[in-house]
């Protein structure tokens, strides 16, 4: 049993390290591999290559790793607590709130918090409203999902309203932002978000047993000694907060949080003790790979990373569905 989890986890870990290293070598501009390695070995060096590797490539890869892990991990959490195979980190309206905050900032110039502050604010507002509504109905899954979907629609309508009242260039800037990108200019912000999100994710790993119980349903979880309601609220808040961080710094990146949990569930089984860390590792590898492809494909032009994750994820998901014995839900 131990081996069954350990081997996939180790190989996924190895894959992540390889992918990160390849990403460091490829990047978005042509640098000879020797110079990349030289720059890497001399952290206190100087020069253009040093700046490129340490200030541009490395933060981007770290951000990709953290956001990939966070989206996949949160996907696992939401699929478990909502007991719904279509749940993903954005299901409960977090991305809608983030998009609204960012649009308000870009288009109307509202808010002194800056772009990141505004989109985190938007996410928090949506988390809070969904929480308030669900708390009135004892956090039933149906109510949570419906409230999330309704707020997603509401927020996206508000975003459309803002767009329809604004000039082309603002709308363009906002739409581009919404497509998602790991190319953040602010290195300090990248480190801050990475530390916050990764500590939250590690914290999450200690509660994988609770996820196992919750995925059996609220009633059974309660019989087995878990305060289902409290535990659900805890997971909901924590995962939403991590998602909010990702949305604020990288925009809305689709498909990672939906595909990766299904993939790892098949790989290591439904027990969250093995699945959660494996999903995080796989999510990181997937996003870093997609980001590298998005940079390399039309270099120096960059494709939105969401396009690559969407296409790769969509094709993968179709194959997954067609192989019926792989599908765990029927």
């Amino acid at each position: 049993m131990g081996n069954k989890r350990l081997i996939p986890a180790l190989s996924l870990g190895l894959m992540l390290v390889t992918v990160m290293f390849i990403a460091l070598l490829v990047g978005g501009s042509h640098i000879p591999s020797r110079d990349v390695i030289n720059a890497l070995l001399n952290p206190r060096g100087a020069g253009v290559f040093h700046t490129l590797v340490w200030d541009v490539r490395l933060p981007r890869i770290v951000l990709g790793t953290v956001v990939g892990a966070a989206l996949a991990g949160c996907g696992v959490v939401f699929q478990a607590i909502l007991r719904n195979p279509l749940a993903e980190p954005y299901t409960l309206g977090v991305s809608g709130g983030g998009a609204l905050g960012a649009s308000l900032y870009i288009v109307l110039g509202i808010g002194g918090l800056g772009m990141v502050g505004m989109s985190i604010g938007g996410c928090l507002i949506s988390i809070f409203t969904v929480y308030t509504i669900a708390s009135k109905k004892n956090f039933s899954n149906t109510v949570l999902i419906l409230a999330g979907v309704i707020f997603s629609f509401l927020f996206s309508s508000l975003v459309m309203l803002i767009f329809s009242l604004s000039s082309t260039r603002d709308v363009y800037a906002a739409v581009i932002w919404l497509m998602g990108s790991l190319s953040s200019a602010d290195t300090r912000l990248v480190w801050l978000v990475s530390i916050l999100a990764s500590s939250a994710l590690i914290f999450l790993l200690f509660f994988s047993r609770d996820l196992d119980l919750l995925s059996l349903g609220d009633e059974r979880a309660t019989y087995l000694g878990l305060d289902a309601r409290r535990s659900k609220v805890f997971f909901f808040i924590l995962a939403s907060f991590v998602t909010a961080l990702c949305v604020a710094v990288a925009g809305v990146i689709s498909f990672v949080g939906l595909i990766i949990p299904h993939f790892t569930r098949k790989l290591v089984g439904p027990s969250h003790g093995g699945m959660l860390p494996c999903a995080m590792l796989a999510g990181s590898s997937f996003l870093v790979t997609c980001d590298t492809v998005s940079q390399r494909l039309l270099r120096p032009v960059e494709l939105p990373v969401g396009v690559i994750t969407g296409i790769a994820g969509g094709v993968f998901f179709l194959l997954f569905l067609l192989r019926k014995d792989w599908w765990g839900y029927d």
Partner: protein, 302 residues
């Protein structure tokens, strides 16, 4: 045998001949009528104009034709602030356009969907659609055509002559100097720039700069941060409000990049989007003046 065939052919030809004459005469008549009709349309200056494009609204102001302008879009220059709004960027209220009874509707290929133009035409509107304006010549041609249609040709020519003169003066100023590598930042996260297939690229060239991403096919491509550093611009021009609102955040993005020529020279400038976002001849020359001073290093601490 051969003879009869040839005869038959000749007969067909001969019989066909007067039919051909008839066709040609008819075509000529139709053409002349059409020509006359068109000319008369052109000669009759419109008296009620609806503009569906903000930059054309501005040009109408510049042409002094504000009195015949009856409808505009919600984003409009100050001069047209009191005009009836018929819609916004995404939606045009067709009923409102009809209610204004315009004899001319001005649209553009870039800004207005084809469906809308077809709809207005099918309702019997006289719609004139302008093509895109990728460089100074395109902007000037469009302006002259607009002036001709609105019966303000003299004024349009006068403005264009003046603008051409100013553009020439500025381009002469840049002549003989070293080519300066320029990076335009139109969006911060992700990074968006303009290629040479835009009027920003054209502007840069006239001002004596070399657009570092001029070679790209896309008009407004997303580019990689690394590639900007590799191509090492001498000047970075950040258009404000495109993802970063204050000068500090925009300039700071590059300030930490050691060894970047623009950082060493302290030549990161910010620009008001209104200057480069509405391509009219007068705006172009204004933008050119500002940008050329940035590129030639006369705009310290802006």
């Amino acid at each position: 045998m051969w003879l009869t065939q040839a005869q038959a052919l000749c007969e067909i030809f001969i019989v066909g001949w007067d039919r051909w004459i008839k066709i040609i005469v008819r075509a000529c008549a139709a053409g002349l009528f059409g020509l006359f009709f068109n000319v008369s349309c052109l000669l009759a200056t419109p008296s009620r104009v609806v503009s569906l494009v903000p930059s054309f609204t501005r040009e109408i102001c510049e042409l002094g034709a504000l009195d015949i302008l009856v409808g505009v879009t919600s984003f409009r220059p100050e001069c047209a602030a009191k005009k009836q709004v018929v819609g916004n960027l995404t939606e045009i209220n067709v009923e409102q356009v009809i209610a204004l009874e315009p004899d001319l509707v001005i649209a553009s290929k870039d800004s207005n969907p084809k469906k809308l133009v077809l709809k207005l035409k099918s309702l019997g509107m006289n719609v004139v659609v302008f093509g895109d304006q990728q460089d100074f010549n395109g902007i000037v041609d469009t302006f002259l055509r607009l002036g001709r249609i609105l019966g303000r040709e003299r004024r349009a020519r006068k403005i264009v002559a003046r603008v051409r003169q100013e553009v020439k003066t500025i381009s002469l100023r840049a002549q003989g100097k070293k080519h300066i590598r320029v990076f335009w930042q139109l969006g911060s996260s992700p990074l968006v720039t303009a290629s040479n297939r835009t009027f920003i690229g054209n502007l840069t060239r006239i001002a004596g700069g070399v657009n570092i991403f001029g070679d790209l096919q896309d008009r407004y491509p997303r580019v990689n941060r690394e590639e900007v550093i590799m191509r090492d611009p001498d000047v970075i021009i950040v258009v404000k409000n495109m993802g970063c609102s204050t000068r500090d955040t925009c300039a700071n993005e590059w300030a930490h990049v050691d060894g970047l020529s623009a950082v060493i020279g302290g030549r990161i400038y910010t620009l008001d989007p209104d200057i480069v976002c509405q391509p009219t001849p007068l705006r172009f020359v204004k933008a050119l003046d500002v940008v050329s001073r940035m590129i030639q290093g006369e705009a310290h601490g802006e």
